[in-house]
Amino acid sequence: MPPFTLGHFSQVKKALAVMIQHNLVKFEASERNNNIAEYSIIHHNVYCLLRYPKYLYMIKRIYGTSEEILLEILLNLGQASASNVIFQSANRLKEANDDSEISDPSALHQSFLKLAQDNFIIRCPKLADNASMQKVPTLVVEEKEKFTVPHLEIGPIAKLLKENATQLGEHSDSEVIWRVNHERFDVELRNVILVNAAARRVDSTAGELYHLILKLWRECSNPDSPTTNALSFNVIKDAVRKNEGSSPVLLEHFEQYLRVLYEDTSSLITKVGDAGGGQFILNYSIVFENLACATLDSIVLERFGSKALRLFRLTRIQKFMEQDQMQNIAMIPAKEAKMFTYKLLEHNFLQIKELKKGTSNFAPVKSFILFHVDLPQQVARTALEASYKGLFNAMVRQMHDLTDNKRLLDKHARLETLLESLRGEGLPEDELAYLSDSMTAAEKSLVARIHSMNDHLTLGQTQADDTILILESYLKFSSMT
């Protein structure tokens, strides 16, 4: 590989600065020499770049368009103060509405407060008090201040908007900087998976109830612990009654839905006590183990077939099995059973454990050969690595398709913008048609095809990301207990 030349030192500095601005790189004083800063990558944040479209979609679904715009601006800026974000969002909305009306920044202010309240955005650490004395400054943020929005002055913002200004300039809260809170979005993405599982298991009303209970748990528990705090039956009942969106079916059969959910084998809700009508928690490690198993089952099914799936599940449920037992209980003919067993073994889904039987020193010692599934170490990690690889391949392919056809795509993009601007200026249709014929129909259909391939690949990456989220969460929670 050719050696990388980073170019001029100032370019390096600029690159680092950009990455720090976007929360991808952090720095701290080196252990050996306090005057030198060491830079390191924040892996998770880099990975989450892929999830930005998902974030926007979720925020739009939960709140609305103005919150979505706020988030988009914040994602683009990386780190910004509240006033700046509001100002830029207002500008964006103005452009979108064709300068007809100037949106009121105080509505955006309310949206910003909502996002902070629900912890989707978080304050960045600021310079510590003694920072000026250190060569490499330390950054701190206080626990209770993480989500508090400082007082903003909306007046100046509104004035600048009317004047069509592009920059905010000086403002009162320029020292208070915000960024997107990735951990909160992770929780939200996990909740989506859990609610879908509940809806599949029982029905959509159960999904609704579960969504509500997840919210209650989130409000009363520490996000980093492997189990939530306990909610009592009465608390849940009150919440369901008070919630405006509760469907009548849920209100009528609330107790039954709760019971069906906590009696279900998927452990979506675990009952831990009877006080207050019943105490309920969510045990993340068990639930995510079940979800990871469902994921792995699906992978085995699609790659090897239903008979292999039966053998895999059988071994996983019974812990240790001999070859003969497996083929008898699974009722699969001997030859096929052996073939699938060895295929699973080859791809690390099954492991072998040998136990010697007999203690004779002379005769060759026979041994039991037992198959077992080593879920956290082997299977989940192998599947996770394979998922990373699949995701990477999809991205490589996408990049390749785009760069190969770059010339054509650029030409198409230029033509489109030209047509748009000319149409805006009122050019007659036949002249526009003449211009658009500068690209042949074949070229246009090729462009359309490239766009559809691109969308297909993006969708594929999103789906691979779902699997990665489940497997990563499983490994994280199983290592906690």
């Binding site: 029982v202 039954q256 839905y257 009722m331 394979a386 489940i470």
Partner: protein, 326 residues
């Protein structure tokens, strides 16, 4: 003058009329034998010396012994020793002895060994060890017995070449034939698959039926979608898919395979009617419709391990991607 006195002797009633017939001489051996067999018939649990004494006290012991020994050699009677008193008992042999006519003693030994093996059958080598006969003699005897239709050989399902011998009219045990799923020592996988799908369909229909009444609440819907293994067995038997009788255990083995497929779940409940636990089953939905990764070609690619940025297998020119993107 003294006249001779005649002392009148009264005729005394003899309580044992048979004994009045002479001490052994008048009674033929055949009659004694017949009497013994009669007695053995009256006491099916066996007669001992005491009973014989009471019945025919005048018969000489030697004669009794000779007759008994003859009966033994003719295999009409069996001799036992009582556990407590250590007395000898003789009783009639139940089986008709006619079939063993014309069979010599070696064959008798082999027959007895095979009989003892019951319906599991016994292997050639084991008969050899038990009877200590040599190979060629044994083979001759086995052939002769098979010819006379007294024994038969059944090939075991565990080792196709191994043959076990058992009595002709016995049904071979499940462990030899493999049970309901084996016919001619071959595992009938198609039958198992058909039954598998059928059971699943039955449970699905029950669940669908239960979902038709959502107004009663999800708990009712869930409980209504359970079926017990007995009920499923009944339904399948009524459908007459298989020619033989399906037992509840057979159906439970099929249902277990469905549990391991992840399509149904089992819960054991106690039923008010029967004692012990009743197994009930219902369909369950998987937690995920399918893992995201399998929706892209890489998730199911057979050559994923060889894929990289250089080499023959690359995402840039991957045929699976080409097909998928079209």
């Amino acid at each position: 003058m003294a006249a001779p006195v005649v002392i009148k002797k009264e005729k005394v009633d003899d309580p044992r009329p048979s004994a009045s017939a002479d001490a052994g001489e008048g009674q033929t051996e055949a009659e004694i034998e017949r009497r013994m067999i009669e007695l053995m018939g009256e006491f099916p649990k066996g007669i001992n010396d005491k009973i014989l004494e009471t019945d025919m006290p005048n018969v000489d012991k030697k004669i009794k012994v000779a007759i008994l020994n003859r009966l033994l050699s003719q295999e009409k009677v069996n001799i036992f020793r009582a556990a407590v008193t250590k007395e000898l008992f003789w009783c009639l042999k139940q089986q008709p002895t006619s079939k063993l006519k014309g069979v010599d003693s070696e064959e008798k030994i082999v027959m007895r060994i095979i009989e003892e093996a019951g319906n599991k059958g016994i292997w050639n080598r084991d008969i050899r060890t038990k009877s200590s006969l040599n190979q060629t003699t044994l083979n001759k005897i086995l052939k002769a017995l098979e010819g006379k239709k007294l024994i038969k050989s059944v090939s075991s399902v565990s080792a196709a070449k191994k043959k076990v011998y058992m009595l002709f009219n016995l049904q071979p045990d499940r462990s030899v034939t493999g049970g309901s799923w084996y016919s001619d020592n071959e595992f009938e996988s198609e039958l198992v698959d058909v039954l598998n799908q059928q059971c699943y369909r039955i449970l699905q229909q029950k669940a669908e039926g239960a979902k038709q009444k959502p107004l009663e609440g999800p708990l009712i819907v869930r409980n209504a979608s359970f079926l017990s293994s007995k009920e499923i067995c009944q339904i399948i038997s009524d459908l007459k898919i298989v020619k033989f009788n399906l037992t509840v255990e057979d159906i439970e083995t099929i249902l277990d395979t469905l549990v391991y497929d992840g399509k149904i779940e089992m819960s054991a409940t106690t039923d008010g009617y029967s004692d012990g636990q009743v197994k009930t089953y219902r369909t369950v939905e998987k937690l995920l419709s399918s893992a995201g990764i399998v929706r892209i070609p890489c998730g199911v690619c057979p050559v994923i391990k060889m894929c990289g940025t250089v080499g023959a297998v690359q995402p840039k020119n991957c045929v699976y991607y080409d097909q998928w993107l079209d």
